[in-house]
Symmetry: C2
Subunit: 398 residues, 2 copies
């Protein structure tokens, strides 16, 4: 049965008058989330108190929710667990991978990666010692840069600015041929397009849930460890909830079974409740349908923008199969254009120096939204809106 | 004006028929928390969407809330920031402190410390390399074990099992005399007793908020860095929200100003909202009053228990000034006794092998609760309740 997108859209609270093209930064509110979190607070925390850890299933929640995420990213059951933030998970995955490839000292990433990934990798290298280096190359050079010095690659599948998508299968294959492990950052992939971690033979993956997965501000991250590695992975962030028997309170750390060992501290139960409400919507979506509609919406947007105002230069791949679920355009006045768009209810975002970024999420964006966004942008670019004093913030399109 | 404890108690949702002596594990629900979180979800996330980071103050929240915590732990304004879990903050504080004391290789802790602290320290040592060691001594030997090989001490002020309190001032003084830095874990101190980080000249401190501070399951942790160290601290967990200019998206990491650099990833906005509701109650409490009443409640409980059943051996210091806000007893049948207590509405917890642990938090526990808990315990110990079939779980007191 094809995905009923109108029904999905009806399950989000979208402010009237807003066309929200920033779900790739913070997804909108699932209508059921408030009640779900309220139930966790009043019925579970309030009434069960400490017994909620067992009676309400809080203790099992990180791996139970992880299994729901696994279905969206082509991962095996028992290979994903929730917790912490994406930055922490970058560190955890890298540190664990480096320890599994002990003769090598190089983390390979690219200059299109999200900066926090690079910062965390850099911090880890400093902690590990001067032999360890983070090497970055241009995104298009990644494949050729994987040589037999590389311990692990740290690649974000979809570029946060341009939406350009790396070839997970090819990079993973090359890495393995050269004896390297892979860490895939799925920040702009999970919920945006089909991901096939198992089929690509990926080693580690990490991601956040507050973008396309709509878990709300500060929603928890996830980590994937391929089943073949799980019993070899000795987590550097060895917290008590990753212990084999957390409640034995042993003084020595013994890693837990399988993916459980990647847990660290107490899970964020309230944020996980919001995520569960969002995943209830995802269960009604077929990711292939989502992808097809995402590409169609973005193609329509690109055609509309380029038809109205060719000075906006497409910064994303034109071929929908080569990009994530976003379209980015460059314009020297990009900051001001985005301010004018936002003031007119079209919420996208700006990434320095000149990128206007628009996320398209078929769960709640449809063709009519696209057409209206194009029309408003066209009005702004032809100055009928732009000339209004409140948009003359810093400069003007001339 | 003395603290109005009856008014504070009225601001918690406490289930009827329950005497909750486990707030040292998970604090109960502040009545205002559900509405506060609901507002964050529906009015902020739902309506402001991505603009909530600025318009609703989410971006500034970790340090704004940190300043509220600072007041409860004797810390300077601008020295505390929220985020992550306590385990992650242990790692962050230790890694940062070790880098500030680069000629030394020893982390000193004690065998009474909470295991996760030791696990995280151990994981860090493995990451740093074979020169680094975690040395643990008996709690009473800590002071003498601080020698000029110690880079940093990792001490939990209040023992999670017995409630025995370390002397923060004396240990910090000795550490500084020997050229060591200090990391204080305040898990069982923050909200339990007056803490004087600044007056004790502490270097780093960390803590959680879901125990005595009542932020709910999975509430965020905090980290303190003494102002004199902040500009020297280069965080090993160098995430983008600790960057000087997160939204410049520089490829290189530049630590942010002051305590801001200890931020890592996206803050847990929903959990922070619940914490804010809890802190609204704390603002009506004077910590000296809380401490005085806590000692009185525990003294009363100890007297009652020992008067009724001397086979329960006090495992906590008898002198109230030498313990945290809990009382622990040892009994060979401790597990079963606690099960019987819980079945009768007295919620404490059991810590292997033989410890019954009871937390006392004057914000919502009063003398009547203490007397009822003692009476129920006495009934159980004299078998009038114990003999009921549902409590014959594994063994019996004979």
């Amino acid at each position: 049965m094809p995905t009923d997108f109108a029904s999905l859209r009806a399950q989000f609270d979208l402010p009237k008058g807003v066309i929200y093209l920033d779900g790739n930064s913070l997804g909108p509110l699932p209508s059921a989330a408030a009640a779900r979190v309220a139930k966790t607070i009043t019925e579970e925390w309030g009434k069960l108190l400490i017994t909620g850890w067992n009676k309400a299933g809080w203790m099992a929640q990180p791996s139970a929710v992880g299994d729901r995420i696994a279905k969206l990213i082509g991962a095996e059951a028992g290979s994903v667990v929730m917790g912490d933030t994406l930055s922490i998970k970058v560190y955890q995955a890298l540190a664990t991978a480096l320890e599994m490839n002990p003769k090598r000292r190089v983390i390979l990433s690219d200059t299109g990666n999200f900066p926090s990934d690079l910062y965390m990798a850099d911090g880890l290298c400093r902690t590990l010692g001067p032999d360890y280096i983070l090497k970055t190359v241009a995104p298009e050079e990644v494949l050729d840069a994987i040589d037999d010095t590389v311990a692990v690659t740290l690649i974000t599948e979809v570029d946060y600015r341009t939406g350009r998508k790396h070839d997970m299968k090819a990079i993973t294959k090359r890495a393995h041929e050269k004896g390297a492990l892979t860490v895939w950052d799925l920040a702009h992939s999970a919920g945006a397009l089909p991901v096939h971690l198992a089929a690509c033979n990926a080693d580690f993956a990490i991601g956040c849930t507050y973008k396309y997965l709509n878990s709300g501000p500060g929603g928890p991250a996830f980590i994937y460890v391929a089943p073949r590695h799980q019993e070899k992975a000795r987590p550097a962030l060895s917290g008590w909830l990753g212990h084999q028997q957390p409640f034995a309170f042993d003084l020595d750390y013994t890693p837990g079974n399988g993916i459980e060992r990647m847990r660290v501290g107490t899970p964020p139960v309230l944020q996980l409740a919001a995520l569960e409400a969002a995943l209830d919507i995802w269960e009604q979506a077929d990711m292939a349908d989502v992808r097809a509609k995402s590409i169609a919406l973005i193609d329509r947007f690109i055609a509309g923008v380029e038809g109205s105002f060719p000075d906006l230069t497409l910064a994303s791949p034109r071929d929908g199969t080569l990009r994530g679920s976003q379209a980015s355009f460059r314009h020297p006045e990009g900051y001001d254009i985005m301010q004018a768009l936002i003031a007119n209810g079209v919420i996208g975002d700006f990434r320095a120096p000149d990128i206007l970024r628009f996320g398209f999420t078929p769960l709640y964006i449809n063709e009519n939204d696209v057409d209206m966004a194009v029309a408003i942008l066209a009005d702004i670019m032809t100055q009928s809106l732009w000339d209004r004093p409140e948009y003359k913030t810093r400069s003007r399109v001339t």
